[in-house]
Subunit: 233 residues, 2 copies
């Protein structure tokens, strides 16, 4: 059965968070004469991502939007990198919108234009509505609405995030396809009843290697153009 | 101070619900040989709108999306019009998407294209996310995200709907402008701290008369083009 809506993981699947955060933060590192590759800052910042959400998933903390987690995570990353003294609070606040300024992978905009002709399209990201709106403006993404963490007030891969996203469109889980470059995201989406599409993104972590997949996903396509092809869009 | 986002009442302000519902339901009336103007069905259906939401605003009923209220309201309207026997449940279900197939007023698409270059744009409607998404596809509206009733799980003019909409964009209420053809909507938005813009829609109720306004709204503009002009967009 063809899905009626496609919902997308965003960081890594739609946009290049590592390249984008590195480009955004590079001038601040250079200005301070810090001898640190901006990609290393991006990686250190991202390393705090899962642990910060985990407390919320576990119920040890109420829902806090990712914008605020990113700001807290930046404090930890700078500390860990030994460059905390170089950034006062205002400088850190100025770095935080890096996550709203991430470039799409080259295939994304043409692929989404084709997919849009046939399906409803929405992010199902751990980013907040605000973050997704501003990122969409930066990257030129055209969504029908913003779904994901803010709708469920919880974080993927909790089942409620996928279910609340389908429910917001008044669709059954099986009428929605989750598109992601991450095996764990798809495993959770499938467990919640959604269809699944895997798009390898070998450049996400700068390794040249896509994630290993552990299941036969409903669609496995090289990029968004190939996904459109496979779905007849 | 210029707003950063404009949020819009939709039914009446952006789209012509009366003409749209009449056009959508006319064939079903004609097929059944019913001697009723489709505008009278639209009016009777809309007459149930405020009472249905009021129980929820008052807390006498939990949040129910407008899609479901519309379906319940249709039962009441058909009863009141004395034509309930002519429509079985399936026929009523088939009429309910009328609210997703409403045409925009003539100035809306060009005006919104100008406004979009300068502001974030979102509906702040009592329609659900699902309803707003499908209506946007039908009418060609390009929103940054869907705000309104579903975000707050309550109905305008409750203050929480305006406040939750601003908060979803991580903006202060005063950074957001509510755009509406309805004086009461703007009064509630202003009381919640939002900026306000009134757009008269004399054809909303088929009377040729716009709503009477009771306050000097921050902007009063003839249509969306004039609103863009006034806001320098």
């Amino acid at each position: 059965m063809q899905p009626k809506a496609l919902i997308f993981d965003v960081f890594g699947t739609v946009v290049d968070w590592r390249g984008g955060v590195a480009a955004y933060t590079a001038p601040a590192l250079a200005e301070r004469g810090l001898d640190l590759a901006p990609e290393a800052l991006a990686d250190a910042w991202r390393d705090e991502y899962q642990p910060a959400m985990q407390r919320i998933r576990d119920g040890g903390r109420g829902y806090v939007p990712l914008d605020d987690l990113h700001r807290e995570n930046l404090d930890r990353a700078l500390e860990r990198l030994g460059i905390a003294d170089a950034f006062d609070a205002a400088a850190r606040d100025a770095l935080n919108p890096a996550w709203e300024a991430l470039p799409p992978w080259a295939d994304v905009l043409p692929g989404m234009a084709r997919l849009r002709a046939r399906f409803l399209l929405a992010p199902c990201s751990n980013g907040s509505t605000s973050l997704m709106v501003r990122l969409a403006r930066f990257a030129g993404l055209r969504w029908d609405c913003i779904l994901g963490a803010d709708v469920a007030r919880d974080y993927k891969p909790k089942a409620g995030v996928y279910l609340a996203s389908a429910a917001a469109l008044r669709l059954a889980p099986g009428e929605v396809m989750m598109v992601a470059a991450h095996d764990g995201d798809l495993a959770a989406a499938r467990a919640a009843g959604l269809q699944t599409a895997f798009i390898p993104r070998p450049d996400e972590f700068g390794t040249g290697e896509p994630e290993t997949i552990t299941q036969e996903w409903d669609v496995i396509a090289e990029d968004f153009g190939a996904l459109a092809e496979r779905l007849g869009a």
